[in-house]
């Protein structure tokens, strides 16, 4: 959104809610401007430059039909299809207050809407939020799980335009959320605020297969004992793709745990960024925080920036991070070829296996299979393999 003010002037008449509050949010956002590389959290992602880039990524249809999902479809920002189910209550859109995050302030000023869903009990079907179209879109979703509620939420990004998405996700005590994210193209800056009450569990599996800019930021707050978060991401980068996963994992309470893995396969001039900051607050004893980054570099022009950070103020904790960045394993490639696979099929299997280490965290095999099919399609196109298994 390079000229946010004139865009705001043009669309503000169509936006619901308090126009003065929106104008104030825009003023706050414009005062700070788009993030620049001088800001630590944006050091590896030059938003202004990336917004000017185009890629030729195509959007492959992910077949969620076998899951019989609940659909919330946002077409160029407008809700076209709203889900109806027992245990799912939809509320009116609520404007967000001004904060200190410029992207969220732009979102507060320009949000066209979003899903404001309250989930009680166990949702039998996955809830899929699809963002599609090619126009600039600002959405603010609010997903609240009541205590003991259980749900699978899919953030299905199918837009090839610009998206500024905010997800406020709150889990009550003992609630359980599986969060699947897919981005195939376009420019997206997504910011998720995830709050976990006692024994709440969130498992996020994100897959980025394209896009000139894929920025997935998540701030996870563990408010009470027993809360657990898993954040897994897989990137399949080709061309000029840029995929950035930036997390702040804030263990505010004792006896909480997190497990983060980031797998990047980077070809051509693509770039992967992983920034994971784990904070363990004073008195948050017995925290277990694990973080792993792995990258498979398929080209000399590709780049991976991995920056794990630990900020620990408690003394009885188990925290570890590891990073392994390497090329395609030549010996493994030979092994597969010696078993009859041609080079392209062997690379296909090694890359698919690499990504599979993230997808295998998805418990629902039908869901996992729909993403596997997308990955297969993307890898096959990338390496020109016909009929890859």
């Amino acid at each position: 959104m390079l000229d946010a003010q004139s865009y705001f002037d043009r669309v503000s008449g169509d936006l619901s809610g308090d126009a003065t509050a929106r104008a104030a949010a825009l003023a706050a956002a414009e005062a700070a401007g788009l993030p620049t590389r001088r800001q630590e959290a944006w050091h590896y992602t030059d938003v202004t430059r990336l917004l000017g880039k185009r890629t030729d990524d195509t959007i492959g249809a992910v077949d969620f039909a076998p899951l019989n999902p609940l659909m919330a479809v946002f077409d160029n920002g407008a809700l076209r299809e709203a889900p109806v189910a027992e245990g799912l209550a939809l509320h009116d859109f609520e404007a967000a207050p001004i904060g200190d995050n410029a992207m969220l302030n732009y979102n507060a000023a320009l949000a066209q809407g979003g899903l404001n869903a309250e989930i009680s009990g166990a949702l039998a079907q996955p809830l899929i939020v699809t963002t599609q179209g090619d126009e600039p879109v600002h959405l603010h979703h609010k997903i609240t799980l009541a205590p003991k509620a259980k749900a699978v939420l899919v953030d299905n990004h199918m837009s090839c335009g610009y998206t500024n998405a905010r997800f406020d996700i709150t889990l009550g005590a003992d609630a359980e959320l599986t969060l699947i994210r897919v981005q195939q193209a376009g420019h997206q800056i997504g910011t998720s605020q995830i709050e976990l009450a006692e024994n709440a569990r969130v498992k996020s599996v994100a897959l980025v297969t394209g896009g000139a800019l894929a920025r997935h930021e998540a701030n996870v707050a563990f408010a009470a004992a027993g809360a657990h978060a898993e954040l897994h991401s897989a990137v399949l980068g080709r061309g000029d793709n840029h995929a950035d996963f930036t997390y702040v994992i804030d263990h505010q309470a004792a006896e909480t745990s997190s497990n983060t893995t980031a797998y990047n396969v980077l070809d051509a001039a693509s770039r992967g960024v992983f920034q994971g900051k784990v904070i363990v607050r004073k008195d948050a004893q017995h925290v277990d925080a694990q973080m792993q980054t792995r990258a498979m570099m398929l080209s000399e022009g590709a780049e991976m920036d991995a920056k794990p950070e630990l900020e620990i103020y408690a003394d009885d904790v188990v925290c570890a991070h590891g990073s392994a960045i390497g090329e395609l394993d030549k010996d493994a490639l030979f092994f597969l070829r010696a078993r009859g696979l041609d080079e392209a099929s062997a690379i296909y299997l090694l890359v698919a296996g690499f990504i599979e280490q993230v997808l295998s965290h998805i418990d629902d095999e039908v869901m996992a299979d729909s993403l596997r099919a997308l990955v297969a399609q993307k890898i096959a196109a990338q390496f020109s393999i016909e009929g890859a298994a």
Binding site: D329, K330, D331, A332, F334, F335, L336, R337, A338, R339, G340, L341, D342, E343, S345, L349, L350, A352, G353, F354, I355, E356, Q357, S360, A389
Partner: protein
């Protein structure tokens, strides 16, 4: 009858370092040959050069397999032609199940030979039958390829691949190393089951014991990248007693 494998005066090396120095060896259809030799004498290098691994320079000599020169063939073409190498150190491939791998491999080879691929049900039946014969449970087929497998399980898995692919020539590079006695027998049975008048085997081993179970027709001693002596099964027994001193000395002087 023409040789299944004929290696003549093979010179090969890596990064300018010669490893194979004029190696000659000929295997007729139906024969089992064993190669024994000290560590570093070039046994694994020979297996890699035969199966087409990148990075080795062949500077002299020729390798003929079933009437075809191997020199210009890609590794997968050699596999399709019926060459199989059971690796001394089998690779781990995370995220790929043993089953998916076996199926991809078998179908790639069938396709390469212009035959029909195997359908899922027949494949499953075959994989189960072959793995059970090798004392592997179905669970191992579902696991990621070699990931977390014990040393012996990895070797058994190599033999399973061989049993599925039914090669014309199998090169077993120290498949017996790391196997317990029962596993050794099972693996040997797997190998013997494949013996046939039109097939051949090249068994690389450090231990005479394996040759009690897989009876070789010819035993070769390899030292410093050459075959320095060939004989019958009794040669292995002799080596077990007196070691390689005699041969190592000889090549140093040569």
């Amino acid at each position: 009858m023409s040789a299944l494998l004929n290696i003549d005066n093979l010179h090969a090396g890596i990064d300018g370092t010669p490893i194979l120095n004029g190696l000659s060896l000929s295997i007729q259809p139906g024969e089992v040959h064993a190669i024994m030799g000290p560590n570093g004498s070039g046994k694994s290098t020979l297996s890699y050069v035969l199966s087409g691994k990148d990075g080795y320079e062949v500077s002299e000599g020729e390798m003929m397999f079933a009437g075809q020169s191997l020199a210009d063939m890609a590794p997968e073409e050699r596999a399709i032609a019926g060459l199989f190498l059971a690796f001394q150190y089998p690779l781990e491939i995370p995220g790929v199940t043993n089953m998916t791998f076996l199926k991809t491999s078998l179908n790639a080879i069938l396709r390469g030979r212009g035959e029909d691929e195997m359908d899922a049900a027949s494949f499953l039946r075959l994989a189960r039958e072959k793995s059970r014969a090798l004392g592997m449970n179905d669970e191992m087929l579902k696991r990621q390829l070699n990931v977390g497998f014990s040393g012996g399980e990895k070797k058994r898995n190599e033999i399973l691949q061989m049993a599925m692919l039914e090669p014309k020539l199998a090169i077993l590079d120290e498949t017996d190393s790391g196997l317990d006695i029962d596993a050794l027998k099972t693996v040997a049975e797997g190998v013997n089951a494949l013996r046939a008048p039109d097939r051949g085997m090249l068994v690389i081993t450090h231990y005479q014991r394996l040759l009690d179970f897989i009876k070789p027709d010819v035993v070769h001693v390899m030292a410093a990248g050459r075959i320095v002596k060939s004989g019958g099964p009794e040669l292995a027994l002799e080596l077990e007693k007196s070691g390689y001193a005699e041969y190592v000395g000889e090549t140093v002087n040569a």
